[in-house]
């Protein structure tokens, strides 16, 4: 749901020192028609040119501060609100690679009333 609207393309940026970036970050929305507690966001997978980056490299921040995907599993008091951008940060030495690259962002959600997990995927060719 809302797949093509998940990644906020203008928000892509490198993180860390300008001359030696340690990663990159972008803003993204939750592909769902309501907000969801962080404990039910099972995966936030980031790929560059089809190559999936490590789960441990990704952190999430809807406002209160960055949190790892493992810590999200028990973050029962935090929610990703409907339509609200959150920051997805990825540790990636050198930052987002130079030139045009395909950035893929996939969310795996545990929606209680569905018998199966819900997946949302956005895929954009971006450059810094």
């Amino acid at each position: 749901m809302f797949d093509k609207f998940l990644i906020q393309p203008a928000s892509l940026r490198n993180t860390g020192p300008a001359d030696a970036p340690t990663g990159f970050a972008f803003e993204a929305k939750l592909g769902y028609y309501r907000g969801l507690g962080l404990s039910m966001i099972e995966e936030l997978n980031v790929s560059i040119d089809g190559e999936s980056l490590a789960r441990e490299a990704v952190t999430f921040d809807e406002g209160p501060g960055p949190i790892t995907l493992d810590a999200m599993e028990t973050a029962y008091d935090r929610r990703w609100a409907f339509g609200a951008p959150a920051t997805i940060s990825v540790a990636h030495p050198g930052g987002f690679p130079e030139g045009e690259h395909r950035l893929t962002f996939q969310q795996k959600l545990r929606v209680s009333y569905l018998p199966f997990p819900s997946f949302n995927t956005d895929d954009k060719v971006l450059s810094l």
């Binding site: 797949d3 093509k4 028609y33 309501r34 507690g37 404990s39 039910m40 029962y76 545990r110």
Partner: protein, 335 residues
């Protein structure tokens, strides 16, 4: 006979524009009021960003917003996160606690109808009835496709309501159960995804003939060597029932609100898929008193190729409601 049916909208209808930041809840409310749909159904988990922590000041802001547009709340759509934890399902006590949290907020908002997700167990709801009575909220289990009014799962809720002789537990029909014709918007998206027109036509024809879905799915997946989009399209038939509109009057005592689901309205204000022309006369005949609350769900079927205009879709549905209600009032003899 004069109908007591009122018109309203669910803010769900404007999810595309709200998600994209093009409309606020107040914009939705103002639009609804402009087409005479003064009843507002809300999804606190969608429309209240600080949910579940809602202050009295926030509630006051919502009430002021309603007053500015001469609107009123009709229904509160609850959710239940039984899978909140990765390691186990919520216990029964935790589920009841979560529903109680919603009943309290519903009451604070001055809303007397709550949409209960259909997967919530009837025995859990039975334990919530004393709270629903205390907070004066009707818990209506959403009768959503592929379930239907006479489905055994729904009859369990009816049985509980009858046994407890309570007015605070019942159902809440979603008009998606009356899918008489396969939605053109569904077909078009599957064709964009690679479904061959002849296979799509076979699926549409099968639905039109009300052939039980598993025959069609097997035919498409195995005998026709269906591709991914074709099999996915055939599988939507599992969720595309046409329930008998004549039965809705029999269930009228158990519901006070209707989610008027729709996927698309034509420019001449007809629904090409859902049989509102058969359902509305039955509601009028039954003397049903409640709100037909628009629930536009077409955005997800077209957002890949076009800009969604939820306002125009909702407007057309209300033109249809007015037409069908007036026709039924003229034709239906008083009981």
């Amino acid at each position: 006979m004069t109908s007591k049916i009122k018109r309203g909208v669910s803010l769900y209808s404007f999810q595309e524009e709200m998600f994209l930041g093009k409309m606020t809840p107040e914009d939705c409310m103002a639009f609804a009021a402009s087409i005479g749909a003064h009843g507002i159904e809300i999804l606190p988990e969608q429309n209240m960003p600080t949910f579940p922590n809602i202050t009295d000041a926030q509630i006051g802001q919502w009430q002021d917003m309603l007053a500015r547009h001469a609107a009123h709340f009709t229904c509160y759509d609850m959710f239940l996160d039984t899978k909140l934890r990765k390691d186990r399902l919520m216990s029964d006590e935790e589920q009841i606690e979560s529903i109680l949290r919603d009943l309290k907020l519903c009451n604070r908002l001055g809303i007397r109808n709550m949409r209960i997700l259909i997967f919530v167990r009837p025995d859990i709801l039975e334990k919530c009835v004393p709270y629903a009575e205390q907070y004066d909220v009707h818990m209506g289990v959403e009768v959503h496709a592929p379930w239907y009014l006479d489905h055994a799962w729904i009859l369990r809720t009816i049985e509980v309501a009858d046994r407890l002789k309570t007015k605070h537990l019942g159902i809440l029909p979603d008009m998606g159960i009356f899918m008489k014709h396969y939605p053109p918007a569904f077909r078009a998206r599957f064709e964009r995804q690679g479904a061959r027109p002849e296979v799509a036509q076979f699926i549409v024809d099968s639905h039109e003939q009300k052939i039980m879905c598993e025959y069609t799915i097997y035919e498409v997946a195995v005998k026709m060597g269906g591709n991914k989009a074709e099999v996915a399209m055939a599988e939507t038939l599992r969720h595309a029932p046409f329930a008998n509109p004549k039965r809705i009057g029999d269930f009228a005592p158990y519901f006070r609100h209707i989610q008027a689901k729709f996927y698309e309205m034509t420019p001449d204000c007809t629904d090409p898929s859902l049989a509102y022309d058969e359902v509305i006369p039955q509601l009028v005949k039954a003397g049903w008193e409640g709100t037909l609350s628009s629930e536009y769900e077409g955005n997800r079927w077209i957002q890949d190729v076009e800009e969604v205009d939820s306002r125009e879709q909702v407007r057309r549905q209300h033109v249809m409601f007015e037409r069908l209600i007036a026709q039924a009032e003229a034709e239906v003899e008083p009981a």
